[in-house]
Amino acid sequence: MDIEASLSGLVGGILIGLSAIWLMGSLGRISGISGILSGLLLERPRGDSAWRLAFLLGLVCGPMVLMLLGGELGNVAGAPNEVIGAPAGGVGLMVIAGLLVGVGTGIGSGCTSGHGVCGLARLSPRSMVATLVFVLVAMLTVFVSRHWLGGAS
């Protein structure tokens, strides 16, 4: 086990938690990325879009700050000074994955942040079940694609 990577994970996770607490404390909102962004792009609710757009900008700026600092704080496996890792496949695979992630989080009302972080912290039964399902299905997907098909990812 890579202790340093795990420690970075823990520190990053705590920062994500602080972000979720701040958004709840300041605007009273759940930090669900799929909900915040799909709402911004597809509904543009009046008086409720500016903070979503600002959140999106901040989300993109976070990793850029680390890159400007030289990248040492990044945690890409096997690449000490990288902040952003390479995609796991080509355009075709990513289009399929993107559609599945979009449709799935759209009809399932959330993703890793909304159900996983905020929902588990609220002890929401719906989020606990959703998180269990998407983690197990993702594990199964990796098992099939890597060990049965030995393919792309």
């Binding site: 602080l18 990793p63 995609p87 979009g102 799935g104 993703c111």
Partner: protein
């Protein structure tokens, strides 16, 4: 003020994702690959985030209202339906194939790779499709 609060939340979230290594799909897929060379990093990320949020939410909820809004907006549903389970399952397949869930996918934008851009566009199309189906 609300926009500034939103920006700060996004910035902290993006920093957290990058520092934890969640902007590296290989780490995420290696966590999901329980039959291979398992990478526990994601477990520490999710664990750290959930415990921190669990404590912080309860402190924040002692207040009558958030700082810049009149009330807390929390999900109220408690039922399990096919949409919740089916949606989570579809998301799981996409997550397993790419190693990207929505947060890290967006936060990785500055990587500016063609596969990631394709993923982001497809994800938005997916959100749109989900809304069409739900109507």
């Amino acid at each position: 003020m609300k926009a500034l609060a939103g920006y700060l939340a996004g910035l902290l979230f993006g920093l957290g994702l990058a520092i934890s290594g969640m902007t590296d799909p290989a780490r995420v897929i290696d966590f999901l690959d329980v039959a291979g060379d398992w990478d526990p990093t994601l477990m520490f990320v999710l664990g750290g985030a959930v415990v921190t949020t669990f404590i912080g939410y309860r402190l924040v909820w002692r207040r009558q209202a958030p700082l810049f809004e009149s009330r807390f907006q929390l999900p109220t549903r408690h039922d399990f339906d096919a949409r919740l389970l089916g949606g989570a399952a579809l998301f799981g397949v996409g997550w397993g194939l790419s190693g990207y869930c929505p947060g890290p996918a967006v936060a990785s934008f500055v990587g500016l790779s063609a596969p990631l851009m394709a993923m982001l566009v497809a994800m938005v199309v997916g959100w749109w499709l989900a809304r069409v189906v739900s109507r």
